[in-house]
Amino acid sequence: MGGSTMDQIVQYIQSYLNTRGLTPGAAGNMFWVLVYIMLVFLGLSVAVIAMNWLERKILAHMQVRLGPMRVGPHGLLQPIADAIKLLLKEDIMPAEADSFVFWMAPLIVVLAAFTVFVVVPFGPTHAITDMNIGILFMLGVSSLSVLGIVMAGWASNSHYPLMGALRSSAQMVSYEVAMGLAVVSAILMTSLNKDGTGTLSMIGIVQAQQAQGVWFVFKFFPLGLIAFFIFAVAMVAETNRAPFDLAEAESELTAGFHTEYSGFRWSLFFLAEYSAMIAVSSIAVTLWLGGWLRPFPNLLTGPTWDQAFSYIPGITFLFFAATCFYNTVRMPKHPLFRIQTIGLAGFGVVLGLIGLMLFISGVSMRIQDIFWFSAKVAGFMYLYIWFRGTFPRYRFDQLMQMGWKVLLPMGLGVLIGTGGMGLRSEIWNQAVLPFGRWIWSLV
């Protein structure tokens, strides 16, 4: 009896494995959806931890300093130490705060930041679900986080957080419009193919780029590029990062909306900020940079190149492993550093094993999409850090000016231009030519 139940379960799971070409959610089964949710949540947490360390290190090296070096080899365990510190900290709530709202605010921000990943396509079959209104869902949910920020600022019952919250909401309102216009022009591009049907599904948008043989950033040059630029600026503003980090402007508002937060609640805001960064970067990658598609699909075609590109994930991880080993050799030869040296070598071995595993063709075929997607998102993450190291902070009114007077008209122009490019033969045949003939007849 027990054996047959086991068989049934195995059959149940296998039945879902057979629905090839469909994402777990679209296949309509609960089991794989849950598995993917766990995977995405885990991956996201690891990404935030990695991002925390990378930001400190990259920023430090931009600023002629070393960054964390003490906790673990090259400070690799610093984010973990920080997490432990934050969890063990006393939970402080200001006496005058509205306790329920104060308690809810970080939860809303975190929920908004994580829920977005429901529709992010890491690959043609690697997504929790494939909604036919994916991009709308994503924009809608990701802008919910401002609600949490306003709640946090209001509930703190303190001047600086209140101002931070107000700034944040004004900023969000003015940038969301330009962002929306840029997104609409990208969606418009999906419909400008032979059969003329567009899509709002995140997976569909990438597949449209695949079918049309062009990433939308290069489509109707330079229209796609401008739309991408608008989105890139707006997404930095949307996530409250430098140079648009007015809501938490340290030198002005001490810490902005989360001034009164500490410990675990603060760490939730931190988590939300970084996952929101990853989320909007994923939108940008999906809409303009071909999502999971590998680079140079038109230039370097053929099975040989496919094979060559499938080695890149493995090579990347082997490169990381080699970096670890190089630094292991460079570690000080003092007994105090023995554990750190062993740790770094161990980390290198793990990375190397992952790299070797990625050379197995079955694995690399399945993982490739996720790798390219993550690599593109990582590029955006680097951009975020670079901005932070380079730019001073915009002032409130300048930021609004930029949103309404520069980005919004640009977005409208791109939208009209994209539409015009899509209908150019119709415009030519039905407007320009008749008008020319009419002029000609007058002559």
Binding site: L59, M62, Q63, V64, R65, H159, Y160, M163, R167, A242, P243, D245, L246, A249, E250, S251, E252, L253, T254, R388, G389, T390, F391, P392, R393, Y394, R395, F396, D397, Q398
Partner: protein, 387 residues
């Protein structure tokens, strides 16, 4: 102890409290910025009256770092008081020492020998560079550019190393003595200073590369906190702030002290008196300081480093005011002697304190973010404001 708020008459705080508020009240927001705040450069407390983000008025509350330096001066001999002045503007300790030593020398009618004068000029100008570097780093940090801070501190370190080698201290150096110098320069001093100058010249370009044409930086500083030359003079504002408003007033040229008249250097001035001009003026001043140091090192004469001064200093009865061009403006000392070993009265005219008075005028009608920028551009050091 009285509540400091009660003294803030023009803010009408008491009125705000008793005012009967409507259900949706649109009152002004009174925000207390400091004394613990990331951007008030120490323990400055600014009470802002805001309409949304717009500043309607502000009041500075100072005194959180008051140590009674002037009073201490009355209870120490002339030589004993010398190290205390380093603690006022602690980022430009050498300038403070120069001002004090020269004032007492004026009182004693002695003059430091030429070699001492030269070394004093070298160290003071190095100090001007160090002070401006610290200003640049923190000012940029306040406006949100975090990277220049590390660049300037990296280069400031080289100056501090020279100080450390010369007198053993890095920050509060006590480098000069009344009548000259205590220490002869160390071996290789000239070479090291020259190495620093060659190292530093491209670094100024590096700072400028990061900021001068940076669109956001220009937007954040142009036409922000502008102050006219008339207002500057009426308020007694001096230093780079005054020069950025277009007044060519530099005590090194106007009332030459030490031996500045031997050196060829320019006085950079601005036109608009805004934050951007003050930034440009200070950047140009660093270049001019490099020029002065170069000339001073090249022409460093041999000779004694100490004038003949009595072991127990008893200046003749009288009073003297002497001022120098410190990195932040006119630093003046007014010393009254009653013929004893201790001054009867020491009064310091600190540039930061006087310049800070312009804050209200410069910030009115600007936004909160500009207050930070203006505090940064005034380049105040609270040790000097409160003394």
């Amino acid at each position: 102890m009285t509540d400091p708020n009660t003294t803030l008459s023009h803010l009408d705080l008491a009125d705000l409290a008793t005012h009967e508020k409507p259900f949706l009240d649109a009152n002004e927001l009174v925000i207390n910025m400091g004394p613990q705040h990331p951007a008030t450069h120490g323990v400055l407390r600014v009470i802002l009256r805001l309409d949304g983000e717009k500043v309607l008025g502000l009041e500075c509350v100072i005194g959180y770092l008051h140590r009674g330096v002037e009073k201490i001066g009355e209870h120490r001999t002339y030589t004993m008081f010398n190290p205390y002045v380093d603690r006022m503007d602690y980022v430009a300790a050498v300038s403070n020492g120069l001002g004090y030593c020269e004032t007492v020398e004026k009182l004693l009618h002695v003059e430091a020998p030429p070699r001492a004068q030269h070394v004093r000029v070298i160290l003071t100008e190095l100090n001007r560079i160090a002070s401006h570097q610290l200003w640049l780093g923190t000012h940029a940090l306040d406006i949100g550019a975090i990277t220049p801070l590390f660049y300037t501190f990296r280069d400031r370190e080289e100056i501090l190393k020279i100080y450390e080698k010369y007198c053993g201290a890095r920050l509060t150096t006590h480098a000069f003595r009344i009548g000259g110098l205590q220490y002869e320069t160390y071996t290789g001093f000239e070479k090291e200073v020259k190495t620093f100058l060659n190292f530093f010249r491209p670094k100024i370009d590096e700072y400028e590369e990061l900021l001068t044409t940076n669109r956001i930086w220009v937007e954040r500083t142009k036409n922000v906190g502008a102050i006219s030359a008339e207002d500057c003079i009426a308020l007694g504002v001096t230093g780079p702030v005054l020069r950025a408003s277009g007044v060519k007033w530099d005590l090194r040229k106007a009332q030459p002290y030490a031996n500045y008249k031997n050196f060829d250097f320019g006085i950079p001035t601005g036109q608009n008196g805004d934050t951007y001009d003050r930034y440009l003026v200070r950047m140009a001043e660093m270049r001019q300081s490099v020029r002065i140091i170069e000339q001073a090192v090249d022409a460093l004469p041999e000779g004694p480093i100490m004038a003949k001064v009595p072991k127990v200093m008893k200046p003749p009865v009288g009073e003297v005011y002497h001022s120098i061009e410190a990195p932040k403006g006119e630093l003046g000392y007014f010393i009254v002697s009653d013929g004893s070993t201790q001054p009867y009265r020491v009064r310091v005219r600190p540039p930061s304190f006087v310049n800070l008075q312009a804050l209200d005028l410069m910030c009115r009608g600007e936004l909160v973010a500009d207050v930070i920028a203006v505090i940064g551009t005034l380049d105040i050091v609270l040790g000097e404001v409160d003394r």
